[in-house]
């Protein structure tokens, strides 16, 4: 009587999710809080990076002629390599997770270390790139392109760095024997974050580096 015919779109019974799901007491959606929260956070990050990328595109379009611009500093082959490195770190990340799910601790550690190393390589590449640009005369305050470029890639780099720290901490707990398939979700969520950072770079690489200037 009180219910106006209403579509019910939610899960009211527990739905099994994830590898350890069987043991979970129910949440309404069947998803863990953490996973839901992580995806919400990533949804929010879309607007953050969207704004930064849009700002960059706009800034570049307003760069006065004759100022130091993308064409003067970019080294596409170099950046291609470091982009590839970051892309592959996503592979090692999923492999790490999958190893953990199967309970292969050792493989897990190997892949996690690989992921962190690839991420580290990417960051090192970025530091190198920044140094080169700086030496070419492009400082943070040099012009509108410099400000926008360093801000965007800097934000991304900071995200990668945080990701690396998180990866290392899973490694530590694995070494200390506190990681098991049971709490693989932790790793899964860190993985989500890591992949997200990767897709942001997919966008950046194409839009900022590869688009004809």
């Amino acid at each position: 009587m009180s219910d106006v015919a209403s579509p019910e779109t939610t899960v009211s019974a527990p739905a099994a999710t994830g590898h350890t799901a069987a043991a979970h007491p129910p949440t309404t959606t069947g998803l863990t809080h953490n996973k839901l929260a992580m995806w919400l956070f990533l949804g929010s990050e879309c607007l953050l990076f969207g704004a930064l990328i849009a700002t960059y595109m706009f800034a570049k379009s307003r760069l006065p002629a004759g100022e130091l611009g993308p064409n003067d500093v970019f080294d596409i082959p170099f950046t291609s390599v470091s982009s590839f490195v970051l892309l592959m770190s996503s592979l090692t990340m999923v492999l790490a997770l999958s190893a953990l799910n199967r309970g292969e601790e050792r493989n897990f550690r190997v892949w996690i270390v690989a992921t962190a190393l690839l991420g580290g390589t990417f960051i090192a590449g970025q530091v190198y790139e920044f140094t080169v640009f700086y030496n070419l005369g492009l400082g943070y305050t040099t012009n509108i392109f410099g400000s926008a470029f360093y801000t965007l890639t800097g934000f991304h780099g900071a995200h990668v760095t945080i990701g690396i720290v998180m990866l290392m901490s899973t490694l530590v707990s694995s070494v200390r024997g506190r990681l098991s398939p049971r709490n693989a979700e932790t790793v899964e969520l860190i993985g989500l974050y890591w992949h997200f950072v990767d897709i942001v770079w997919i966008l950046i690489f194409t839009i900022i580096y590869l688009f004809p200037q």
């Binding site: 899960v11 999710t17 949804g43 929010s44 607007l47 592979l91 194409t206």
Partner: protein, 127 residues
Amino acid sequence: MTQTPSVPTEAAEDVQPADAETEDVAAEHDAEHEHPSDRQYVKVALILGALTALEVATYFESVHHLGDAALYALLVVLMVLKFIYVVAWFMHLKFDSVILRRIFVAGIVLALGVYLVMLTAFRIWGA
């Protein structure tokens, strides 16, 4: 551990069973929630690598006779493909709950929407 003396659930007349859609979602979920194998992951990575290689190739003149518009289109398509591959496979969105998909898609669609409109208002295209 102590138990509360009270009844476990407060029985109102009839607890409605989870409705049809709900169960569908759950069922579908169970069926689909198989993790891709490592082999599949590697395959995806190879595809990603290939797409990247294609993208980078555009930098080396080869396709420049296509003209800027076509080049942009090509790059955007490649970028979107890469994006989708990573999200669908590595991030499991292809297999995961629709709720998660909706949340993420909402973020992306909103971001695309507002920022494209903003840039359009600035008339940066074709510059």
